[in-house]
């Protein structure tokens, strides 16, 4: 019996040893595999952290842009609504012109590395080539919350000049804006701030110092057209349902052709503009929101901007535009506009009033189709046949 017991114990021990022998390599293998998986996970986590860091950097860059593809059908072979011009040449009258073209192709990259510093650059591509539209750096002083911007950016006069063409109801700005602020941009510096008062309304203050003649001036890329700088100031108030603002522009017009004054002391003429603007928002049952908005601008300009002489006089200009836009439920919008511009209030029969009406169809969140009919009327005998139908597709990136 004792022998049997010994034999059993020996067998168990041997078996145990064998079991232990057999298990040990398996345990090692599992341990190795676990280590391997842990290492792999650590590697994945490391790569994920790098990827997250890269994505965080990419999120600081915001790329936006839009395309305005257009079909125009208009009466005058020379006049171009896109450029805000009409022709008075009789031979062009009544010659129907229709054409497809790309009005604007914008691409803007904005980078915000920190809450208090940002930079942006934007380009426009059109039939005339590629041009720089915006290029600026902005810093916000944390304590006062004043934002300083230096570079090339919109003139801060009125609301429509800085309102993006991708969002504006009518394809072109009002005639006074196209005439007095061609290109809508200039180089300079501006400072701005806004306050939220009693959590109910917003007050905004802006002031800027600009070269003066804007991006469409031929000497723009290389020269400041005159020694003095033009000043613009603007104050706004937003009540939610009613936003309004006042703007002032004090500048000098350089007169290179004025031979009566030595070249070292070129003559200049005052260029002064004042503006008020207001936007009233409302909501109608079933149809949705609507807006009634207008801008009134009065100013003093050199009588002949190109060849002005010191002995010449200035002219008083007046511009007004009123827009009524109404959503027709979710996808449609009715738009209408009265656009008036008088280049010289002391001269008769030079005022132009353009009546515009149209519909916007919002295809989706990024694109919309506009159909617009515009009837420009010039006072008295200068009236020309230059009505226009515009079909425009705007796609926003």
């Amino acid at each position: 019996m004792t022998l049997i017991r010994y034999a059993l114990c020996a067998s168990l021990l041997m078996g145990g040893a064998h079991w232990a022998k057999g298990e040990e390599p398996e345990s090692d293998s599992l341990y190795d595999q676990l280590n391997q998986v842990t290492d792999q996970m650590a590697g994945v986590q490391e790569r994920l952290a790098i990827a997250e860091s890269d994505i965080a950097k990419l999120k600081k860059v915001k790329i936006t842009g839009y395309v305005q593809a257009r079909y125009e059908y208009h009466d005058d072979a020379i006049g171009s609504p896109a450029l805000g011009t009409t022709s008075s040449d009789k031979k062009n009258q009544g010659q129907l012109l229709n054409r497809f073209f790309i009005r604007r192709t914008r691409l803007k990259a904005a980078f915000q590395a920190s809450p208090n510093a940002a930079g942006a650059v934007s380009f426009d591509g059109s039939a005339s080539g590629v041009s720089l539209k915006d290029a600026y750096v902005s810093v916000t002083e944390p304590w006062s919350q004043l934002t300083f911007t230096l570079g090339q950016f919109n003139w801060l006069f009125g609301y429509e000049i800085s309102f993006s063409s991708s969002k504006r109801e009518f394809p072109e700005r009002a005639r006074w804006a196209r005439t007095l602020f061609p290109g809508e941009r200039d180089r300079g510096v501006k400072v701005e701030t806004s306050f939220l008062v009693e959590d109910r309304y917003t007050l905004g203050l802006q002031a800027g110092l600009y070269n003066g003649n804007g991006v469409d001036d031929k000497s723009f890329n290389s020269n400041d057209p005159n020694k003095s700088k033009d000043v613009i100031a603007r104050a706004t108030c937003g009540l939610g349902f009613l936003d309004f603002g006042v703007s002032g522009y004090w500048g000098k017009q350089f007169n290179p052709s004025d031979q009566s004054i030595p070249a070292q002391q070129p003559s200049t003429t005052d260029k002064i503009r004042y503006g008020v603007d207001a936007q009233y928002f409302y909501e109608l049952p079933r149809l949705g929101g609507g807006v009634l908005k207008g801008e009134l601008v009065a100013g003093k300009e050199p009588k002949n901007a190109k060849g002005f002489l010191s002995g010449d006089t200035t002219r008083n200009v007046l511009g007004l535009d009123i827009v009524w836009a109404q959503n027709l439920r979710e996808r449609f919008q009715w738009i209408s506009r009265l656009d008036f511009y008088d280049p010289d209030r002391d001269t008769e029969q030079d005022q132009t009033t353009t009546y515009g009406l149209g519909l916007i169809y919002f295809w989706d969140g990024n694109s919309k189709l506009k159909l617009i009919y515009e009837i420009p009327k010039t006072a008295g005998k200068n009236e020309v046949k230059d009505n226009t139908i515009t079909l425009e597709w705007v796609y926003t990136i």
Binding site: E52, T202, F281, E283, G289, G290, E330, F362, L371
Partner: protein, 285 residues
């Protein structure tokens, strides 16, 4: 004259589309806050059961995503765990000429989660700020074990992220060490498995984790995110949860909003783990 006629014909054709672009008969879409997804889904389930023929689709994505969808016209209702930002209101105004209609539909106690095994059970707002900006990195500094704090948080399109950043971090950036997760459920899951983890999110998700009491300052009483403390305003991280619409509610959407604000709708809020809003007049009045 021919051109005017052509214009009017074309315009009429476009306007005719209005008749077929109505909302009658289609599903009501709700999109936005991940914090509110379970609440929105529960509302939809109960409402569809009580109103056969109405279809409601609820998806998440974050408050920012929901507001963008509302502006783009791809959702009827946006759920948001934070108020709309001024820039978002501007976009809404530019497109729809309205500032959107804001309807508080529930309250939430933004909860700070730690592991059930963690001895730390209360924190001040200042301690939370220091933890999440990376100034306090060990539980030892908070009366806990000598171990590194593992931070969990949300992505920046989340209203919860924005609320926490604005109300706890005072606008400062989160520490780079924060692991950003796609939803509150993920945050709760991560913290429940990590003895040294800390996370934040809606009270309704707090399962398998400990909810910390929060004090305004070191010498203040710390209050837990209970119904009573949220409703009486003592819990310092209580917040409103919103529905946003493009215009004042009408038709089926108005009926839904009125129901959500009614005792039946608010009962769902309580069942789901959130807190009801004070009884108010129905929407759009």
């Amino acid at each position: 004259m021919k051109r005017i006629t052509a214009f009017i014909v074309a315009a009429s054709l476009m306007v005719a589309g209005i008749a077929v672009s109505g909302s009658a008969g289609r599903a009501i879409t709700i999109k936005g806050s991940d914090t509110m997804v379970i609440l929105g889904q529960r509302w939809a389930e109960v409402y569809m059961k009580e109103h056969p023929g109405i279809v409601i689709q609820v998806t998440g994505g974050g408050s920012g995503t929901g507001i963008a969808a509302l502006i783009n016209g791809t959702t009827d209702i946006c759920q948001a765990s934070r108020p709309m930002k001024p820039a978002e209101k501007t976009k809404m105004k530019e497109r729809y000429f309205t500032q959107g209609t804001e309807i508080p539909v529930a309250k939430d106690g933004m909860t700070v989660y730690v592991s059930e095994s963690n001895p730390v059970s209360q924190l001040t707002i200042e301690q939370l700020r220091k933890i999440y900006v990376g100034e306090i990195t060990s539980w030892k500094d908070l009366g806990g074990p000598d171990a590194d704090i593992n931070l969990y948080g949300r992505e920046n399109n989340s209203g919860t992220y924005v609320f926490f950043k604005d109300n706890v971090l005072e606008g400062e950036d989160f520490a780079p060490a924060v692991a950003t997760l796609p939803g509150t459920a993920s945050v709760v899951n991560a913290v429940s498995k990590d003895p040294n983890g800390i996370g934040y999110g809606g009270a309704a998700y707090a399962k398998g984790v400990k909810q910390c009491a929060v004090a305004v300052a070191a010498d203040s009483v710390a209050y837990p995110p209970t119904k009573e403390m949220v409703e009486n305003g003592k819990y310092p991280l209580a917040r409103d949860l919103y529905w946003y619409l493009r215009t004042k509610p009408e038709g089926d959407i108005k009926k839904l909003v009125d129901w959500v604000l009614s005792p039946s709708g608010q009962a769902v809020v309580t069942e789901t783990g959130y807190f009801p809003v004070a009884s108010k007049a129905t929407a759009g009045k």
